[in-house]
């Protein structure tokens, strides 16, 4: 640890305090705008604290313009839950094999997988769109779910790094007792890797929940909108109603913030311990 004594500490505090304020202040602004009366939004100079807290904005935003956020949250969960579960399962299976089993072409396949992280999503977008169109999957959740069921390179890499740190003796003992590889993976490696699995769960959940380009391309019918698509449509209709727009933004943001605050401890540990450093 460099700069341990002297100016290092106060300077670090200063940097972190200033940057934390810069990080958080926009969200406070989002919140105060969301509870303002319409008349107070376009004031100059603006007011940080509204004279009346108009909580009713949230009720109005939830059902505004024929959009139904309850349905959109439900739709989003229909996509997020299977993708998150299968990403963890499929990626951890592959990660276990890459970390522990010697099979023909293992290193080659692993390098191929790492290389695939560098393939821009822009390249696969059009062929995938045409594929799903041929399958008549457009305007359904399938294009948003199915590609997410097979694990992904980043997740496999993260979990493999973590699995490599688990001592081999445990596994050898289990194998001598006649335990199959499948049981070792499911009953030993997965439970021993809670930080990495928690990290991956949060990553995947927020990635799928936050995605709006996928739904933008594949979903047309309003009754199939996800939360993000709903917010985008909302923006199209209520462009100057920043009070309602910010209220809608707050409740699309809230599930992710809550999830993160709960998983935070595991999350940071997972990233640090997997040695995710290239």
């Amino acid at each position: 640890m460099p700069l341990r004594k002297g100016l290092g500490t106060p300077v670090s505090y200063l940097i972190l305090i200033v940057m934390s304020i810069v990080s958080i202040a926009p969200f406070l602004w989002m919140f105060t705008t969301s509870v303002k009366d319409q008349k107070e939004i376009f004031l100059f100079p603006p007011k940080w604290i509204p004279s009346v807290f108009k909580w009713h904005n949230y009720v109005e935003a939830w059902n505004a313009g024929g959009l139904n956020f309850s349905l959109m949250f439900y739709n989003t969960m229909l996509i997020v839950i299977p993708v998150t579960i299968f990403t963890v399962l499929a990626s951890s299976m592959a990660a276990y094999a890459f970390a522990r089993i010697e099979f023909l072409g293992r290193n080659f396949l692993f390098m191929l997988l790492l290389a695939s992280m560098m393939i821009p999503g822009a390249v696969t977008l059009i062929p995938q769109f045409i594929l799903f169109r041929e399958l008549t999957w457009l305007d359904s959740f399938l294009p948003l779910i199915v590609p997410g069921l097979f694990g992904n390179a980043f997740a496999i890499f993260l979990l493999r790094q973590f699995f490599m740190t688990i001592p081999g003796e445990l596994e050898d003992a289990a194998m001598i007792d006649g335990c199959s590889r499948y049981r070792i993976w499911f009953q030993m490696f997965l439970p021993l890797s809670k930080p990495a699995v928690a990290t991956l769960t949060v990553f995947t959940f927020q990635g799928v929940y936050n995605d709006f380009i996928g739904p933008l391309i594949y979903i047309n019918s309003q009754n199939k909108f996800t939360v993000q698509l709903g917010l985008a449509a909302f923006n199209g209709v209520y462009q100057t109603r920043y009070d309602l727009l910010m209220a809608a933004s707050v409740f699309t943001l809230l599930p992710i913030i809550i999830l993160f605050l709960f998983a935070q401890r595991y999350f940071i540990e997972g990233i640090t311990m997997s040695g995710l450093k290239g």
Binding site: M1, T9, M93, A94, E102, M118, L125, M246, G275, K277
Partner: protein, 312 residues
């Protein structure tokens, strides 16, 4: 670890007993059963689409009528297409605005975060909240913050006597303003990777440097900086790949405007594919993006890749 040639050459070198052979066969079967889902997903949703994208770039295809062969016509048209050239230029400018500043800020934050301070968990959480927030909500929030007449940012600037700035409405400012938002949003992510790398540097190296009477700057220059190189290399490559494909921020905040001032390659690709139904043309744009990303990645690897390996 066995390489492919070790495995295939094995029978000549050591005569395997039946038991060992049986184990090897079983390991192969079990191994492949473990990677089967990932392998199928990779083939179906990455490898085949990449090959298909290559072919689509040579087609005329409006999705309504059957595709016809266009040869290199799409690529030839790109060179004459002024909007494409503007988009290419804007994409390069985006990388210039975004990548160095974003990495520098992340590194400074990680170095500060690596000190023995109080309240680190709280700082980390606050700096990380923009990263996990949905891009859409955050981008809409910044449209509001950047509002020239009633936005918070112009209000703050007015307090120190600065005239209102048209962040997203001025052609020269729109792209850097969006980059500013992206830097703000993503700083916490690279910070975390840098932090993980910093915490992986063995303490005894600093102790040894102390014994040699090294100054703080010497310790940073000769211990921290070289040992951070693998993480930096990873971050540079991944940031570049991400920045080169910037789309969401632009789609939400300016829709490519004003004029063409925030058209990027990914935005122009999206317009061609989903607004103008020109799939072949969009495919050609995607291949150009692919080749440029590949080229830069290979160059980075050639120049820096070999210098960043340290065994400790």
């Amino acid at each position: 670890m066995n390489t492919l040639s070790d495995l295939t050459a094995a029978p000549e070198r050591t005569r395997l007993t039946r038991r060992a052979l049986h184990k090897k066969l079983r390991d192969n079967l079990v191994g492949y059963s473990f990677i089967a889902p990932a392998l199928i997903g990779f083939l179906a949703f990455t490898l085949l689409p990449v090959l298909a994208a290559f072919v689509i770039g040579f087609l005329n295809w409006d999705l309504l009528t059957a595709p016809t062969w266009a040869g290199i016509k799409n690529y030839a048209a790109l060179l004459q297409d002024e909007v494409f050239l503007i988009s290419l230029r804007n994409t390069i400018m985006w990388v210039v605005y975004y990548v160095p500043a974003s990495i520098a800020i992340s590194l400074i934050l990680a170095l500060a975060m690596n000190m023995p301070l109080r309240g680190i968990t709280a700082f980390r959480a606050m700096l990380y909240i923009p990263v996990i927030s949905p891009l859409l909500a955050v981008a809409l929030l910044f449209v509001w913050l950047f509002n020239p007449d009633f936005g918070l940012i112009n209000f703050m600037l007015s307090k120190i006597g600065i005239q209102p700035i048209g962040w997203l409405t001025d052609e020269r400012l729109a792209l850097p303003s969006i980059a500013l938002m992206a830097i703000w949003k993503n700083a916490g992510w690279n910070m975390l990777i840098f932090l993980a790398a910093l915490q992986g540097i063995p303490r005894h190296l600093y102790e040894a440097a102390d014994l040699d009477g090294a100054t703080k700057w010497q310790k940073f220059r000769n211990v921290t900086f070289p040992l951070l190189a693998p993480a930096t290399f990873f971050i540079v490559i991944m940031s570049f790949i991400g920045a080169f494909q910037v789309f969401g921020e632009i789609y939400i905040m300016t829709n490519g405007g004003p004029g063409y001032s925030t058209h990027t390659l990914a935005y122009y690709l999206w317009s061609n594919a989903f607004k103008f139904n020109k799939m072949g043309y969009a495919g050609a744009i995607s291949m150009v993006m692919f080749l440029l990303i590949l080229l830069v990645t290979v160059l980075q690897n050639r120049f820096f890749g070999r210098k960043v390996q340290y065994d400790l």
